[in-house]
Symmetry: D2
């Protein structure tokens, strides 16, 4: 049995890790940390997570917890993760970091968008971007995974086949995303209170969201030339889910069916990608609580524009499920282990 430790287990990504790992037959959760909730039981915060009723949060004392586990999941706030990742990695442990700290390969770009210095550039050089559909081979042999952001996961999976198969132009691509409120984290904030979010809908951080360089990095890598994107996130009055609507001009005449074929071939054996047939489009409700990415395609022949819609659960495929998928690949477990849940209906 693999012993894992969850650093930062009082937020939504952390407790989603606990939930998913509880069904994993090869794993033991050896401990969980939280600074604010140290001393409390997991079920004090989340009464439904009954299997953890005797697991208490502890402080993140790196030296002490080092020997408790072989693999460390880090679900800490951005910037706070840098140091812990470096420590566990240098001590020979496997590390899966859910923060943004090791996702951007260019430390300058990181510092520019996150406004904090990156103090561990050598370790940064070791990190593999944990999108299995692209980096499966590298993940297999890596000890340090930078788990992708939620928006980038939906955007990149939607664009990858079109870009790699040169179906679309790379000149500014439009990525219009809508995320459930859990994407903002678990915190006390009037702007996230029920009465402000419920029955509302808005765009935010237009053109300035920190996931932008992450998306551009991976799309550029995919097609070998620099790609820029217009990325607009919106806040949905639902708990979970990201729907991303993508627009790009096609390089020549295509049909919807033709593009769907390209996508189906590209993702042929991927365990967690579902390309929908013509005329069907994704709904976040169809992937809620699951590690799936649903992709819908529409080639608008009137305007010669390709429109791609993707749906993921921001906390599963967009965070903790993908982290477990990465663990499965790193450890040689069957990839779907612990990740084959179907959504609640309704």
């Amino acid at each position: 049995m693999l012993k894992v430790f969850v650093c930062g287990g009082s937020g939504y990504a952390g407790c989603e890790l606990l939930r998913i790992l509880s069904t994993h037959p090869e794993v033991i959760v050896a401990g969980v940390s939280s600074e604010k909730s140290a001393g409390k039981y997991v079920t004090d915060l989340f009464p439904g997570l009954y299997k953890y009723r005797s697991l208490a949060y502890e402080h993140l004392q790196k030296e002490e917890i080092l020997k408790k586990a072989d693999l460390f999941f880090l679900a800490l706030p951005h910037a706070e993760s840098q140091d812990a990742v470096d420590f566990f990695y240098r001590q020979g442990k496997k590390v899966i970091d859910l923060s943004a700290d090791y996702r951007l390969r260019d430390a300058e770009v990181y510092e520019d968008w996150y406004r904090v210095p990156h103090r561990f550039r050598k370790t940064l050089g070791k990190a593999v971007y944990g999108l299995p559909e692209v980096y499966r081979k590298k993940i297999r042999t890596s000890r340090l995974i930078a788990n992708p952001g939620c928006y980038p996961t939906g955007a990149i999976l939607g664009l990858l086949p079109a870009l790699k198969k040169k179906v679309i132009d790379v000149s500014p691509i439009i990525i219009d995303s809508k995320s459930g409120t859990s994407g903002a984290g678990r915190k006390a904030d009037v702007a996230l209170s029920f009465c402000e979010v419920n029955e509302g809908f808005k765009a935010y951080a237009i053109g300035s969201h920190r996931h932008t360089p992450e998306i551009e990095q991976e799309l550029s890598a995919a097609c070998g030339i620099p790609v820029t994107v217009n990325f607009t996130p919106h806040l949905l009055p639902v708990d979970r889910g990201i729907l991303t609507t993508i627009y790009a001009p096609a390089v020549k005449k295509y049909t919807t069916e033709g593009i769907i074929k390209v996508y189906e071939e590209f993702y042929g054996n991927e365990p967690f990608v579902r390309v929908l047939e013509s005329g069907r489009y994704p709904n976040i409700k169809n992937v809620r609580g699951t590690n799936y990415c649903e992709i819908g395609i529409r080639m608008n022949e009137r305007t010669n524009t390709l429109i791609i819609v993707t749906a993921i659960d921001n906390l599963v495929k967009g965070a903790s499920g993908q982290a477990v998928h990465n663990m499965n690949i790193m450890m040689g477990f069957e990839e779907k282990t612990g990740l084959d849940a179907m959504p609640l209906i309704p």
Copy 2:
């Protein structure tokens, strides 16, 4: 492997059965019926249920499907279930009926509240009310289970210890229930449309809901004298969950802690009942997607009234999860098999 057939699989209870059974290691779903959707695949209706993408709905042709399975789940509308239950039962099959048709032991009471004749009184006499916390022994050896209603499950579990331990008076007990909208079924109805339900809340069928005689039957059986109840259901603008708030006068002075102890002892080993400590109360969100019943207790010493709050997921513990629990008991499987999910947070 046990072969099961789901009669009526296009409603919420039916597709929840499919979802739960998909994780059950001892069971094969041999088929599923739906009159309206016959010929369509399960994933045509519910794209997220990807494991059933090659399972198509068929018509409920009893003779033909008889040999396909050993156990039949029936998730048909009330009255429509009578005949099918009788047929499969008399053919020697195991039957778990999720409708109300075999719950009321007295056919007259059934006919009075449901306004249809009961045409199979002999078979009715064979049915066991499938509340495992009460009838586990009988369920073990029965071939015909009348799976409890959603409201009765929450109400009876809340009252059982207090009644059996004679903590409260039986003179009209107040049962104030609030149910998520999936309890009304999956149907085209303006009154169930998003814009009518959302941001609304109302009581309905006050004093006349058909679950009333079912609750009274079981409470009366529990304490050996006739019990009457005031049962008021309400419609919550959420997908799932029933919260039931119960009021009854205590027969003598008690403390909250004292009553909690009575409940903890009563439910000691029950796998799906969770009695909360003093000062904590249930939330439907803590049991969503799970087979658990959470019970919170407050003894109001000022008014000498015992207040009990229970929370269940109406589609799991209130329907399909309890049906699978009954199957596990009938078949001698470990009781929690397929039923140990924890809730999504959030």
Copy 3:
């Protein structure tokens, strides 16, 4: 034109006052205070309140604002209101206090439930409980109104006719209330965040909510003997609205129609009470944004229990609308002035 000042205008009750007053033809809003938001414009917090785009929050400097207005609305937190009410009242101003500080006539009861001393007992003696359906005459000549709490408004209006006409027993009455989330105020609190409230439902403060003594005070006054109640509030995942379901044993045999007649006669000319015909029940969505109280009646003849359901908008009839109604009565304005809005559908 009457000049009014709103003390505490950055919470939901305060900004609802601003919204309602903006349509009132006899009133000028002379100013608004907020400690946290002093210096900001009303539209910085609430962009939709465009008519107040040039009104800025100021600090509650009592001496300075004294001469700005003739009538002061106070929407301050409990305990913080005591002093300001006393000040403006003693300076000869009209005061309508939306806090609980002057609602309980017995200062000891206040201190017992609110755990703070009441320092202005003489002024307390001058306050009139601002429920127009009961105290209209006194309100007309009073200068100090204690505006009723949201839960008490729905509960008292539901019980008043039954108690005064001696239709029910007074021994513990059951009051089961469900409130929208705005009732908890506008604040940064994880427990009020969207992801915690949405798709959830729970009871809280069972038997210990501070509105209990307020309800008991008014019911006891109505029928001349001490009344005790079991009051259970619940948190609804909607913005606005309180639905209250009330249970009490009838003293003799009645029909639903008979009781409805009693209620209709009792409330005959009341401008804001609507007694529904037999078989119809209130829905919070039908009163949202309005000053109406809808009342539905069901006499359960099987159990001899009277069940009363009331619906109000907690921010209008349960707070700011009722405050404006009180102002209209105090000032001799037509009672419905500014208060005749119908609900948005949907």
Copy 4:
């Protein structure tokens, strides 16, 4: 007093008309029709619309209702409106049609997208597209107004200044819209039921929605050359509101502030358009129940793309409020009469 008649008053647009007209000091609602609900009172369907408790629905018998009113609002389904519009118009009445039947000036385009013949081309030639910000002068003297669609209103208002001031390229513009569920109308449909919509989000009719030619017609007219758009609607789990996010390449370098200035000047005196300052973006909750259109601007200098976000209430500015605005202009009433409501908060 102007007598008006509402044809089709049992849907959401119709009952919103009733609600708004009830506050209009110059208007009497002389009658309302509904085929399905003929004989019922308005309050039988919408208990909250208490001012209409003695108004009953009647059948749309054109000859009979002709003399009842001077101005007819038609909120009938598409295609069903053609005939009634033509009749009332030819009889010399004023007509405001909320359907799509008279919006497209080219009957061929109408027939192509709506798949029904247009049988009244002569009358079609008389219709004025009722967007006051563009056609105010023509509306003033017209007797037949084609009230704009909900999506087109938000899209056109967002693009008008940029197109007319030649700030952007017209080559395919991206219009990504998200609408509350009331936009789909009031009907019995599983796909619109609470449990299907709630906690979900999806795109639909990508590239094929019937509002596309309406948007293109008006944008082309605005800039004098043919404009094509990619229009993607999405279904939001809220009652009301449309947020539209628009992307177009800028023709040269601009700043956000520079574009905001262009918009402010363009809409200078418009009573129902609100251009937000730099860094602020619209939220549908800020315009709910109001006739306002909020516009937010962001010039993404990295990608040289102009991003415009607009928010309207689909039932007010996107339907019935705009219809009343058109009536006010036609009749010479002050434009904001009956339309100055501010949103409920929350």
